[in-house]
């Protein structure tokens, strides 16, 4: 028996995804240096019960994400996606983070078509999740951490 049909599993579960699912960068909630610059969000995927709690801390001028940490349970896609997100977001300008998040959502909605080389290059390691967009039932898994990030950024901007 062949290992999988036409290597679809290898395309979906890129080595980078499996590695991040095991390593989970940014995992473990960290206390903030200044609680007034922190936003936290809890998101759950009601179809599978997967959940993530994600905390962001902004720089003193609120222009950049100075720290991000998270905890959660979920499938390799959701765990790896949030892990990659941590790498991309910590230290980045908030405006760039929002743009990356939008681009990643767009990639997930592309139904396997992708965004083209240039746009995907700009996503860095998050482009490895392109294969997820072929499986509508899994898109929510890849977006779970990103939804939490957007919600946490809104909360910190409102001072919640």
């Amino acid at each position: 028996m062949s290992s999988t049909s036409s290597g679809a599993m290898e395309q979906l579960y890129q080595q980078l995804i499996l590695d991040h699912a095991r390593e989970r960068h940014g995992y473990g909630l960290r206390d903030a240096a200044d609680p007034s610059r922190v936003g936290e969000s809890f998101q759950v995927n009601p179809t599978c019960g997967d959940e993530v709690r994600l905390r962001v801390e902004l720089s003193p001028d609120s222009g950049a994400v100075s720290d991000l940490s998270w905890e959660g349970i979920g499938c390799s896609i959701s765990q790896a996606s949030t892990s990659v997100l941590s790498d991309l977001v910590i230290g980045a300008q908030v405006s760039d983070v929002v743009a990356t998040s939008d681009r990643f959502s767009e990639l997930m909605q592309s139904r396997g078509a992708g965004l083209g080389e240039e746009a995907e290059d700009a996503l860095g390691d998050a482009a490895a999740f392109a294969g997820v967009s072929k499986y509508p039932a899994r898109v929510k898994c890849a977006l779970l951490g990103w939804m939490a990030l957007r919600d946490a950024l809104i909360k910190v901007s409102k001072g919640e």
Partner: protein
Amino acid sequence: MAPVTGTTATAVDTGGHTLTAAELAAVRADFPLLERTVRDGRPLVYLDTAATSQKPQCVLDAEQDFYERRNAAVHRGAHALAEEATEAYEAARAAVADLVGVDAGEIVWTKNATEGINLVAYAISNATLGRGGAAAERLRLRAGDEIVVTEAEHHANLVPWQELCARTGATLRWLGLTDDGRIDLDTLPVINERTRVVAFTHASNVTGAISPVGPIVAAARAVGALVVLDACQSVPHLPVDLRALDVDFAAFSGHKMLGPTGVGTLYGRRELLEAMPPVLTGGSMVEVVTMAETTYMPPPQRFEAGTQMVAQTIGLHAAVGYLAELGLDGVAAHEAELGERMLAGIAEIPDVRVLGPADGADRLATVAFAVEGVHPHDVGQFLDDAGIAVRVGHHCAQPLHRRLGVASSARASAGIYTTPDDVDAFLATLARVRPFFVEGRA
């Protein structure tokens, strides 16, 4: 009078024994969907029958035949078509009643089992508000009353009771489970003199465990509590005699028993249905309507407001006919073999744990499992890539999963059309899941 469809199924007669390869092939030939392929031409291995069953051709034909030749509103109008449609609708009710050993007048059509359980809960709610007159007295809840469920319940047999308690001030209590997912009879004393309703599943949609109905009903009877049985998973797979089980209400869904979606059944003991105030109100369920007030039809019509799912009841009639011709003892024997094969195979695979009873006694061929270190979504995705359809998630039973120490699981479930080869394909692919995700690419 045109012949009533639902008696025209030409199913294999199992004679109560497990199926031969030839009989199984004949059964499968009745299910057109099983011929299709998925994911780049893989033959479909359908192991999600506990979620919904596939439908034999006779069910599809019965629905089509109804629309082509007899479509009319039922229980209204006196023209020829209306008569035929009404007769077919009532014949379907009689067939379902016969399947589960009760009278046709005790069968209420619902959209699905969820609606059936909610119907009971809302009728109790309405009685508690004073509706239904003196007859509904025995349904009224009072301060201090308790409702008992179990930790094994599908949300459909838990949330309606939580809501009923919230509306009436009754207290919800529950029977616990053993570590292998069976209802723990040591917790039976939870049922006490304050208990008014005991609602529990006949067979778990997750663990496949068949509940010890006798002791639970006896405990309920001893304190005068009503018994509501969620029979969704049992009626399609086992011979079920609701009268012999001595339950007051039972709900099950057409789509899990080879029938269409959109039709389900609520059984209610006749005197209880007669005592129940209506829930949904409107057309078709009334006697005399004035601007000020209304009197209601006797059951079951009292609970069937508005235009009903007539074609679906006729499809379900065909499904019941098909199951009856197969013989549910034969269905059970066939599926028991598949269940044993699944359990024995899973036991051979390292780091895969069955959530539920590990042996084949008193259980269905519905097997939830956890692959150590691999999330159920990933397990399901890997199986799907090989054309194998299983359910992943919490299967609408979050408390049960929590009790078993997991957030979610994967579940393989067999039906009458499932083959030993299906089970073997599932087991062979399942064995490759952990190596793929955890031990590095082979």
